[in-house]
């Protein structure tokens, strides 16, 4: 299949997928109250997909394992929460500030972390995100500590369906921007730093600088997703910054496939389904979500590390 043909096919699939996703809430609303719950679920799924895709810029395309991505998600969440609740800033402005703040924090944390490679980088990302969590936890007067920030207003025109569509629009827009970056010279340079960071230096690329830039971009996108979730749930809490929150985008990227843009989105969908299934089976099962997630992650790492998209590639090659 020639490149233009497969590109066109991808475009077609993309448009179909967006159309399906856009129509979904209108179908669900017919279910009445239950319908609203399900709309909330798919909205969260969309937001988590953005969170996962943002991580994957570092993980899949940059080849760097970051365990601290929840820091930027949480940063975005608290930015929106604090601006709306404490400063009375209108929603759209607060949301616009989220990636800026998250990106700024990513710049600081990232600067320290990229000074080491591989393994060390990974443990540093975990450490610094834990630091942020501790600060949020302790700083009761500002962040509400363990209680978090509640009662965030939502603008009147945002009903469940409209907010879902808004999030969907943001997701698509962000994915398009990420796609542009990945296909650009910068994206190619990042991929070289993943493939062979030593060689990248020897073709004149300042590896640390590029990794830091990528890290900031990924952090900014994560901030947007954090801002969106705050508005969805109308609260922000320290759980958003917890290290185990970073596991979800990792899981999504791994299960869906790290080396494509759509992989994390698929992975988030799968993750969401698992959560729902678990909830339907037994309410208390959700309490062991971390255990469950960990076990599945173990299975995936051991037996199917290339994820759904990777398996699809293999399948396509054979046929």
């Amino acid at each position: 299949m020639s490149k233009t043909n497969s590109n066109r096919k991808n475009y077609l699939w993309g448009i179909i997928a967006i159309a399906v996703l856009a129509i979904l809430p209108f179908l669900l609303i017919t279910l009445g109250n239950k319908g609203e719950y399900w709309i909330w679920v798919i909205t969260e799924m969309i937001i988590m997909a953005l969170f996962a895709a943002s991580l994957n810029m570092i993980l899949g395309f940059g080849g760097m394992v970051s365990f601290g991505h929840s820091a930027f998600y949480g940063m975005g969440a608290y930015t929106v929460a604090l601006l709306i609740k404490k400063a009375g800033v209108p929603f759209f402005l607060a949301l616009a500030a989220a990636p800026v703040m998250a990106g700024a924090v990513a710049a600081i944390i990232g600067w320290f972390c990229v000074r080491r490679i591989g393994l060390y980088f990974s443990i540093l990302t975990l450490a610094f995100s834990q630091l942020l969590y501790m600060i949020a936890f302790q700083w009761y007067t500002f962040t509400g500590g363990d209680d978090g920030i509640h009662g965030i207003n939502r603008p009147e025109f945002f009903g469940p369906v409209t907010y879902y569509l808004f999030c969907l629009a943001i997701l698509v827009a962000c994915l398009l921007v990420m796609r542009m970056i990945i296909r650009s010279s910068f994206g190619l340079a990042i991929r070289t730093t993943r493939e062979n960071p030593e060689r990248a230096k020897f073709i004149g690329i300042s590896v640390q600088r590029y990794q830091l830039l990528n890290f900031i971009i990924a952090g900014a996108f994560a901030g947007i997703s954090g801002g969106l979730i705050t508005e969805l749930n109308r609260f922000a809490q320290t759980e958003f910054l917890h290290w185990s929150k970073s596991a979800e985008p990792i899981f999504a990227s791994l299960v869906g496939g790290m080396y494509s843009l759509i992989g994390p989105v698929i992975g988030s969908t799968i993750l969401m389904f698992l959560k729902i299934v678990l909830q339907q089976v037994h309410q208390s099962l959700v309490e062991i979500w971390a255990l469950f997630l960990g076990l599945i992650l173990l299975v995936v790492v051991l037996f199917a590390p290339e994820g759904v998209m990777g398996l699809r590639q293999k399948f396509l090659k054979k046929h």
């Binding site: 010279s185 340079a189 230096k201 004149g204």
Partner: protein, 251 residues
């Protein structure tokens, strides 16, 4: 007399107490095609590592076009005009041959920060990449994944990437290592032809004496971290110390 492009002064380096490089001193005029030979462990690759900024010397200077480059980062030294092809293949395995080249060409033109324009739209970059691939006879495999190519092809890709950097000084670390005897001469003829056409200063490390004596203008002999001798092939072949230390074993 051609201008000097590289001068190495009193270069010293030790690792864990072992002196690998001991007060090396030599000068390379612009446009010269020279070889560095010596027994294993003599410090040849270390010399390249020092010149390209991969290691920091304990003392000494490395002067490129009049400017001391000791302490500069590898990517800075690349920008100053030194390119390197590696002994063990050092490419981007999961990228295609073309992508390897395109990445290098873009980096050479300082365009790697562009986050907007899709790479495939950069016509001029692609033309240049194809041009260089043509000159190393790799144009046919441009679309293939570089990591699965045979060793000889990967080596030529490595050289092509170094060329794409439009260097003033090209360092080739054992360009024929691991290649079958027939292919060796092909590769070396290629290197020689490129040198004649482009006029780049080239220094290569080699173990195959036939090759070394056939194409180099000058030979420098490294032994246990010291420069044992320096001269034309004829001079070196008659040099007592060299014959004793090295050639005697080989021949």
């Amino acid at each position: 007399m051609a201008e000097e492009i590289l001068r190495v002064e009193d270069l010293t380096k030790s690792f864990d107490g072992n002196t690998i490089m001991n007060n090396i001193h030599f000068s390379v005029p612009q446009g010269e095609l020279s070889a560095i030979i010596g027994p294993n462990g003599a410090g040849k690759t270390t010399l390249f590592n020092l010149i390209t900024g991969y290691h920091l010397p304990d003392s000494g200077k490395i002067i490129l076009e009049g400017r001391d480059i000791v302490g500069k980062q590898p990517y800075e030294i690349v920008r100053l005009g030194i390119a390197r092809a590696f002994q063990r293949t050092n490419i981007f395995p999961r990228l295609s041959v073309l992508e390897n080249m395109v990445a290098t060409v873009i980096s050479n033109r300082k365009g790697s920060l562009n986050m907007v324009t899709p790479v495939q739209n950069l016509k001029e970059v692609h033309e240049r990449a194809y041009q260089i691939l043509e000159s190393v006879k790799l144009r046919d495999v441009a679309e293939r994944q570089s990591g699965i190519l045979p060793h000889g092809d990967q080596k030529r890709l490595d050289i092509a990437m170094a060329l794409a950097l439009e260097p003033k000084l090209l360092l080739l670390d054992e360009p024929t290592a691991g290649i079958s005897p027939e292919e060796r001469w092909q590769t070396i003829d290629l290197v020689h032809e490129l040198w004649q056409r482009l006029g780049i200063t080239m220094i290569f490390i080699e173990h195959d004496m036939d090759i070394v004596f056939k194409i180099s203008q000058k030979i420098r002999v490294l032994c246990y971290g010291s420069l044992l001798a320096e001269g034309t092939p004829t001079e070196i072949s008659k040099n007592e110390k060299v014959i004793e230390a090295y050639l005697g074993e080989e021949v």
